[in-house]
């Protein structure tokens, strides 16, 4: 006979109050049986709570990111538990670590392979500015080859800092106009990086 699984000898009432955070509904008009709001807000809400990260980890910041993904810091709380290791499936490129000049075209290629809309986080001093590697072989910040949305400072940043960066991306994603990626200004930005 199967034994019933019980974790407490005396059953406790479920204590879920305040332990689960829910995304708030966007502003809009509510009436009997209907709710109206802007499409961009609904799309933003859906996007920001299901960002799929693409980790591009080359050094110690990647180790901090492993902690961020793990149970203790739990990136899954932000709807990002699913690491995609194909750029074609992902929304958020996380560049963590020193990017050598020889690696720069590969990083660019990975960025180009991601489909729109896409966001980029430069995690740590090296990805943001070259860091201590002020040298002939190291790219002085990934923003020389691809546009970056959020920079996370630190050498390496703590998992809390990475989470803060991801929350900053969520904020950008939630507020982004659905027409932004078609705008002239965005096209100009892409062209300035030589990306069609």
């Amino acid at each position: 006979m199967a034994r019933p699984v019980r974790f407490n000898i005396t059953p406790k009432p479920r204590d879920a109050q305040g332990h689960i955070s829910m995304a708030n509904a966007p502003d809009g008009y509510t009436g009997e049986g209907f709710f109206t709001t802007k499409l961009s807000e609904v799309v933003g809400l859906a996007r920001k709570n299901s960002l799929w990260p693409l980790p591009f980890a080359t050094s110690c910041c990647g180790i901090e990111f492993m902690a961020t993904m793990g149970a203790h810091y739990d990136l899954g709380r932000f709807g990002s538990e699913r690491m995609g290791f194909s750029p074609r499936q992902c929304d958020m490129l996380l560049v963590m670590g020193t990017i050598a000049k020889k690696m720069a075209p590969i990083l660019r290629q990975v960025y180009i392979q991601m489909s729109e809309p896409r966001w980029v986080v430069a995690v740590g001093a090296c990805a943001s500015s070259g860091g201590i590697f002020d040298s002939y072989s190291v790219l002085q910040g990934i923003d020389q080859v691809i546009p970056v949305d959020v920079y996370v400072p630190g050498c390496p940043p703590r998992p809390e800092a990475i989470l803060d960066g991801i929350m900053a991306v969520q904020d950008l994603v939630g507020k982004e106009s659905i027409r932004r990626r078609n705008s002239d200004r965005y096209q100009q930005l892409m062209l300035s990086y030589g990306i069609q």
Binding site: K102, S129, G130, D134, S135, Y136, S137, V138, Q140
Partner: protein, 171 residues
């Protein structure tokens, strides 16, 4: 009888006379210098000689001495005799204006990548090398980064304020 540094020196002087110079033994490793035209003759002799038997090229690299006019670049060869477990090192010097050195790839296949690396970082032109192009750095690089002609920092950088890094500025 084990091969001693004295014996190696004797054999070299027998064969090449006065052209092998500047013998020294830092940390017990025999080190000497030859004219750059003789590097292949010397390598071949060390390889073929039944007593010396230096048949393994451990390492090959260069050093830049910017103040030593006419002999700015030193190419250093490290050789190993596996039979007697003896290592030696010899250097050739070349001017930086015309850094042509004969390639050792005919004798040692492993010299191929080592010479490419030496070319990549110091610009030593190995005459007769089958594929002398950059191996570690980006191909579009237009200088030789390990020559002591360039500041350590990347000069294309504009985001670093010298004042903040204690390099000049007002304080």
């Amino acid at each position: 009888m084990a091969l001693t540094n004295e014996r190696i020196r004797e054999r070299l002087t027998e064969k090449f006379g006065e052209s092998v110079t500047a013998f020294s033994e830092p940390f017990g490793m025999l080190t000497f210098e030859v004219p750059k035209e003789m590097n292949l003759k010397l390598l071949q002799f060390l390889y073929d000689d039944d007593e010396l038997k230096f048949r393994f090229l451990t390492d090959l690299q260069a050093v830049h001495y910017p103040d030593d006019k006419g002999r700015e670049l030193a190419v250093v060869y490290h050789l190993h005799n596996f039979t007697d477990n003896v290592r030696i090192r010899f250097k050739i010097f070349t001017g930086i204006e015309n850094p042509d050195v004969f390639t050792a790839t005919r004798l040692y296949e492993c010299a191929n990548w080592m010479e490419r690396e030496t070319y990549d970082f110091f610009g030593v032109n190995f005459v007769g090398h089958p594929n002398l192009k950059r191996i570690l750095n980006v191909e579009e690089m237009d200088y030789f980064p390990l020559r002591k002609e360039y500041p350590m920092e990347d000069q294309t950088r504009i985001d670093k304020d010298d004042e903040m890094f204690g390099r000049g500025g007002t304080f």
